[in-house]
């Protein structure tokens, strides 16, 4: 019944149950118990001022005694708003998203909005399905993380529901706000740091985000280091990073520093360096990007660029609340400043 068969395991019955779950009390039950009309209950619960203290207390007490909880489904139906925001994430394992969501939730909460998380597992079919679910739930807003609204379903979604896209910057849709890390600035921070340490032969391993590479090129030129520019492309894996780094480090003269497109690739650089007998940071400085959990570990201690993920979450919340309040606003792009985190993988040239 539920997915593929699970490896068998122990099942123990804990104890008998007698009472079936009771049905939830409704506003009507509260009204009866308090001896008033259901409208009055509604008024009390919504804090209307035109209710006598006497009745107010009676209603509140009845509600308390019954364990009444308002039915958000019914309320949403009549209000035409759910106060729900759907956040669609490509991959929950990525710590970037986890922290972003923390920031998002924190701020949404302040605006009386609730966050639902959907998880697409990088599968476009799941994306569409999750968004369809959000739309049917009539969420008030949508946040897309690592997902570009290209499919028909997604485009439709953005046209009916206020939407903020995070990470993907090449979106051209009416009324869709964008929050992104300022990749170029991040690359510049990395290069400035290395140049400050006296490095000149600074190579770059290019990943999927081309703006990081651009940032590298711009920064190198600004420091008049154009002759030392070295770029090698790699796919975003440790293996890819290792290959690219090996290629770079066997050149003559070899670079004294490598700025990798992201931390995973940087790990590959570290492996390559170890294999070639190069010490980090004495013989080679390495800078990553994303400041993942891994880079923070004592055993790796990788200098990296941190993407102010919480801040991005808060920005997304602000943009979204704003747009929910007034749809039909001009679409905005907010670039958030990243930060350099210096660790033990970088040192003087």
């Amino acid at each position: 019944m539920s997915g593929p068969p699970v490896k068998m395991s122990t099942i123990t019955e804990l104890r008998e149950v007698d009472a079936l779950p009771r049905p939830r009390p409704t506003i009507r039950n509260v009204a009866e118990r308090a001896g008033v009309s259901k409208s009055l209950v509604s008024l009390v619960l919504r804090g209307s001022p035109h209710v006598s203290e006497h009745r107010r207390q009676a209603v509140l007490q009845a509600a308390r005694e019954l364990g009444y909880r308002p039915n958000a489904v019914a309320r949403s139906l009549v209000e035409g708003r759910t106060h729900l925001v759907g956040a669609l994430v490509a991959d929950l394992h990525n710590p970037f998203y986890a922290e972003f969501l923390d920031g998002l939730q924190e701020s949404l909460h302040g605006d009386g909005l609730r966050m639902l998380i959907g998880n697409s597992q990088w599968d476009p079919a799941f994306e569409d399905e999750a968004v369809a679910a959000f739309l049917e739930l009539r969420v008030d807003g949508l946040v897309l993380l690592g997902i570009a609204p290209t499919s028909e379903t997604l485009v439709e979604a953005t046209s009916y529901t206020p939407t903020v896209v995070v990470g993907e910057r090449d979106i051209e849709l009416d009324g869709v706000d964008i929050v992104a890390d300022d990749d170029q600035l991040g690359a510049r921070l990395a290069i400035d740091h290395l140049v400050g340490l006296g490095h000149k032969r600074i190579a770059h391993i290019e990943g999927p985000r081309s703006s990081r590479c651009e940032g590298y090129l711009v920064a190198m030129r600004r420091h008049s280091l154009a002759p030392y520019i070295m770029v090698e492309a790699a796919d975003s894996s440790e293996e890819g990073g290792k290959e690219a780094a090996t290629a770079l480090l066997t050149r003559d003269p070899r670079p004294t520093a490598i700025f990798a497109a992201n931390d995973t690739v940087a790990l590959g650089v570290l492996s390559a360096a170890a294999e070639l007998g190069l010490r980090v940071p004495e013989d080679l400085s390495v800078v990553g990007y994303d400041n993942t959990h891994l880079s923070a570990s004592h055993h790796i201690s990788l200098t990296s660029i941190d993407q102010a993920r919480r801040t991005m979450g808060r920005s997304a919340a602000a943009l979204l609340s704003d747009r929910i309040g007034d749809p039909g606003k001009v679409a905005r792009l907010r670039q958030v400043e990243p930060e350099l985190i210096v660790r033990r993988s970088t040192g003087p040239a």
Copy 2:
């Protein structure tokens, strides 16, 4: 308006918007356009067999043309079911939860249920609030991850809504199922592995989960290694692990293997070993628990116990669907078998 002020960043206006979001079409609009009653639209959409092909096509076409999407809010209200399951997570950063959720979602999906994720950030106030939100949304089921239902709100929740608790095993509530890793078995796998490599002086660093320590004790005795039992307690941090390991490794004779309560603690053990000039695995074998992302990295490569997180997620889904179908079932405890992942931190004694 949204949370604390955000560090400033670039805002760019992308382009003008003309069309305001239109209101969503309702079933009535579809009915009008197709020239039928709204009931018939409902019947078509729900796949009733008693509809002529002619009308069915007319309805489907009208729905398509209008971009109609059924309103789940309205449907839930009348059905008295939302087909929603709320998963409350203490911490999204923990990869355990992320992978568990993958398994959970996968299986729930097969049962026509949708997963909502709430995030309590380890704060009991947030827990209550998130659960309250789930209850008001009238979710059909609840999954609590790393959260024991002790507060009043949570107990109330379990009495109205089918609930599965994950990780915490000491729950005594009617009708609440439990899914947990079989810690004792996991400990046994670790010890068996080490004994198989010829180790005798196997120490344990105890963490918050006492059953892992029990498993260690039982396994050691089973191998008639009771005289070699050494246990040191530590809090669940790299620092704590380092201290405990240092204490163990400066004993004489020192242990040749350490089984740590979890991977974070095991990292501390590695640090301590490095500081004491002990090579891993030549001089010391180390086993962790949880098989976190870190332990898998080439740079660390820690032998660890993997908690079959996806499987646990699937189990939770199965238990929950089951209980949704028939509340008032006997409460069940499902212990899932963990697995040993051998890496480079263990070797012959």
